[in-house]
Symmetry: C2
């Protein structure tokens, strides 16, 4: 095994963008998607890094994403802004509307962005970090594929339904969390199945709704939410707010739409809320960011880790030393560059 080769953020981004353009994606969309994929790799979020390239190319090859979709913004001047991704990837739609969302939140105190009809593959921390960089608190959520049972149930109705939150910090990386409301990722159960090892208790139930540690039974049954009935309630909220409320797919319909298979990325909507702490705090005379620091530094002072700390440390290292790619990763990158979508058949 050879040592990994470091590559700079900008160089890797340019290469990934070029792959998407080769595969027929319009340059602005290719740039947006490349940005989030390479940001994941930079932050050592391998599950949301260049590993995602193949999945993105597969939906392109399957014709399940519109590579030329131009995000359309619908803005009636209220606190809700909509952007229609037009069956394209979610990220170009978010970037197309982000500045308008931030400006509206600063003007009105808070604002919401509805992303319609998008293919979703990226972590939500991108969205909330981008808004935190504008001084805004942000909450982002979306449904996914229905593989998770509600507390007390056995049939999968809920998605892994991620939820992310960002809070600006002065002169530092923001406070950011981003997690699935399921206990584990479906991919983790799949890894246990391949390895022939049991999954931890509490991850899943079998078809009859009984707790199981057998990965096969878990995949045939349903995953569970984190935090028992409380996590189940939060996951249900994500379905309602970012599915039903937007008139977009909830996780069950998203799965049905793809023929019951999770082989391709899910198509649904997403909801992003942006809140301006300066507007909310104004009458108090207090500085909300300085107040927030009292809590966040006290959490760190007792040795507890803040969410995203590891990610930010990996980022600092990657920006200094380059993003380390293995020989296999580099070889795949070169194959995609050379063959485009045809690499999928190779």
């Amino acid at each position: 095994m050879t040592d990994p080769t470091p590559i700079s953020f900008d160089a890797l981004r340019a290469r990934v963008q070029s792959i998407f353009e080769t595969c027929g994606v319009r340059p602005e969309s290719a740039a947006a998607v490349a940005q989030v994929i390479v940001a994941g790799e930079r932050d050592a979020c391998k599950s949301h890094g260049i590993y995602r390239l193949e999945g993105c190319l597969r939906v392109l090859a399957a014709g399940k994403v519109d590579p030329q979709a131009v995000p359309q913004i619908h803005d009636a001047g209220r606190a809700v802004i909509e952007v229609d991704a037009g069956g394209g990837f979610s990220n170009p739609a978010f970037y197309a509307a982000k500045d308008l969302l931030a400006a509206r939140a600063k003007e009105m105190g808070l604002a919401a962005l509805v992303i319609r009809d998008c293919l979703h593959f990226s972590a939500l921390w991108h969205d909330v970090e981008a808004l935190a960089a504008d001084g805004l608190a942000a909450l982002s959520m979306c449904p996914s594929y229905a593989f998770v049972a509600p507390a007390g149930g056995r049939e999968p109705l809920l998605g892994t339904n991620p939820i992310a939150f960002g809070w600006p910090r002065a002169g530092a990386t923001p406070y950011v969390f981003d997690f699935a409301t399921s206990v584990a990722a479906r991919g983790e159960i799949e890894l246990h199945r391949r390895a022939g090892t049991p999954i931890p208790e509490g991850w899943a139930v079998d078809r009859e709704g009984k707790p199981t540690t057998d990965p096969e039974a878990a995949l045939a049954g349903a995953m569970l939410t984190f935090g028992a009935h409380k996590g189940s309630a939060i996951s249900t909220m994500v379905e309602l707010l970012s599915g039903a409320m937007l008139g977009e797919f909830m996780s069950r319909e998203a799965l049905d739409f793809m023929g019951g298979s999770a082989a391709l990325l899910p198509r649904h909507g997403a909801l992003v809320l942006a809140l301006d702490p300066q507007v909310f705090a104004a009458r108090s005379g207090r500085n909300p960011i300085a107040e927030g620091e009292k809590l966040l530094t006290a959490i760190g002072a007792q040795g507890a880790r803040l969410p995203s700390e590891r990610r930010f440390a990996a980022r600092a290292k990657a920006l200094r030393d380059g993003i380390p790619l293995s020989a296999a990763e580099l070889a795949q990158l070169e194959r995609f560059e050379r063959l485009g979508l045809a690499a999928l058949d190779a």
Copy 2:
């Protein structure tokens, strides 16, 4: 032990309101506080029912709540409305601003209500249920007293930080959850201490941050959040959004303000978000409430219980048969009626 005596909702509300008025609370505020206390009793939420009367009278006797405070609304016509409780109870402030919040959410798509400087004792489901009755989705949260350690830590920095969500359902009670982000309530640990029984694992850590099942060690140490690091992240979000962002107390400062004792109700702010599904869904052509029903009825159809179901069942029974009060509860009610605040010394 005699059978409980049933009393009608209206009769009990009138008696509780009259007790508050006897104790010097202005009639509008007495009515608002009586409404939520008796609603708790009606729903068999004993911990938020007439049990709360004594705590309310204690803060009145201690001069820590302003009984004559008149909520002041500050509205700049944006998506954020503020109501200053002026050191009074939170409920009169919420009711004073609720209709304006609902109208603003319908006009703009979503709106936020900031409640400032209030004494808080009631469950949050009142607020989100009231907004769901107006056809709105709602999210409500507030800090409390710092008795909960962040994940990986040992010092209490977080409150039990409740979070509530409401979603309107056609022709039925709304979808409502309302829970503390701590695993358990502090009162439950206190009950174990009095009974001399161990607390379940995962509820608390001792002063050194080690897991403990000893209620004494738990009370001297710190409680834990539900859902490990995910619950801890959500609790931190509640501190930031409903404390720091508003320029109001977070849970640590609320506890310090009361001299480190939780004997009296906490003073802080609260945040309520209201979202109009009809605005969010409009361009989709779908009915968001009907879409939500697909999920909610499917959860029920597999035998899983929706949050608040037990509460709604208790409510239906109480409205039909009356609210059952024990002889001891009736005797205390009569003592408060006869003696007002002097009953506390008796």
